[in-house]
């Protein structure tokens, strides 16, 4: 799938982070949308089709793992990449146990993220 056809949802309460990341992804040809909390992200997933969701683990209200659980219960095919600001991989590993495709540490390496997005999209069966 070319970048132009990949639609990404970014969920993180740090607005400046997701809006900047979204702009960088758009410059590379992706389509991206942002949500500042898990609840909004879940609603967007219910109403629109996305190819990948990128979710921060630590958010107010519904945290990243709870958001992931909800997504996996309702839309299991959507690949989710988790972001963690913790120094340890514990929460990321827990996320993968629940069904996340992968996780990345903050601050991000954009090239690493792009690789993970491509892998996630390529490895997800198309319905």
């Amino acid at each position: 799938m070319s970048n132009q056809n990949i639609k990404i949802l970014l969920i993180d309460d740090e607005l400046e982070f997701i809006s900047t990341l979204s702009e960088r992804l758009e410059l590379r040809g992706y389509t991206s949308k942002i949500a500042q909390d898990g609840e909004t992200g879940i609603t967007m997933i219910e109403n629109e089709t996305f190819d990948v969701a990128i979710i921060d683990l630590m958010m107010p209200g519904l945290n990243g793992l709870d958001t992931l659980r909800h997504i996996k219960n309702t839309n299991n095919a959507l690949p989710v990449i988790l972001l963690t600001g913790h120094g340890s991989t514990k929460d990321g590993m827990e996320g993968m146990r629940i069904g996340a495709f992968d996780f990345l540490m903050k601050p991000l390496d954009i090239n690493e993220l792009l690789k993970k997005i491509k892998l996630a999209v390529d490895q997800t069966p198309k319905g």
């Binding site: 740090e14 982070f17 900047t20 990341l21 702009e23 960088r24 107010p60 209200g61 601050p107 991000l108």
Partner: protein, 217 residues
């Protein structure tokens, strides 16, 4: 559990939260500088519309995040030095504000904003600064974990020989007939009273209104 272990756990919880926030600051700085790099590279081959204003916007974000980072690390540094002396003279208002500024994210996770009302007078005391902060933190956790609230107010009232620190629910219409019982049942309350005993403070509840308070001195 020994007090030293409790102190270590408290330090761990607070520093983990602040360092997570610092990671967010760094993540924004990294993405924003990356975006500037993207614009500059693109501008070499194609004219980027509004190039100057796009770079200005990025610079504003970088400055804002740098200030945020400095504030976080300065307060964290101050916090890290609190165990330097078993007893030290502390300004209650300043210490309370700084503690809340570095633990804010932990409370926001629970959708609660914590506000310290402006102190009207200088309130100093010589005490164990770590236990003092543990009491403040436990009082906030106690109110947040016991009740579904969105805002918590912290008021500091100096009175003759004592200083009262009051934790109340922001919503004035909030009514909880079993307030006292719920607080007493909370695991935080026994922790608060134990800690207060160690530094001769008094913990109590205001009859008829949903508030807990600490009397210092």
């Amino acid at each position: 559990m020994e007090t030293s272990n409790k102190k270590a756990m408290f330090f761990g919880k607070v520093t983990a939260s602040v360092t997570h926030e610092i990671q967010n600051v760094l993540a924004i700085i990294k993405e924003t500088s990356g975006l500037m790099e993207d614009f500059i590279l693109m501008h070499k081959t194609n004219q980027v519309p509004d190039f100057d204003s796009k770079l200005d916007k990025c610079l504003e974000t970088l400055k804002k995040q740098a200030y945020r980072g400095v504030s976080l690390t300065s307060n964290l540094n101050g916090f890290a030095h609190t165990p330097d002396n078993i007893q030290s003279a502390i300004d209650i208002c300043e210490t309370t504000k700084k503690l809340i500024s570095i633990t804010d994210r932990l409370f926001k996770q629970k959708n609660v904003s914590v506000e310290v009302c402006e102190c009207t007078a200088s309130c100093s005391i010589t005490t164990d600064p770590v236990i003092f902060q543990m009491i403040l933190f436990s009082c906030i956790e106690c109110m947040i974990d016991t009740f579904q609230i969105q805002q918590l107010m912290v008021n500091i009232h100096p009175k003759e020989n004592t200083i009262g620190i009051c934790f109340s629910i922001g919503d004035e219409n909030f009514q909880y007939p079993d307030f006292k019982e719920k607080i007493m049942q909370s695991s935080h309350w026994s922790k608060i009273t134990d800690l207060c005993e160690q530094i001769n403070f008094t913990a109590g509840m205001t009859p008829g209104s949903p508030k807990i308070f600490i009397l210092v001195g």
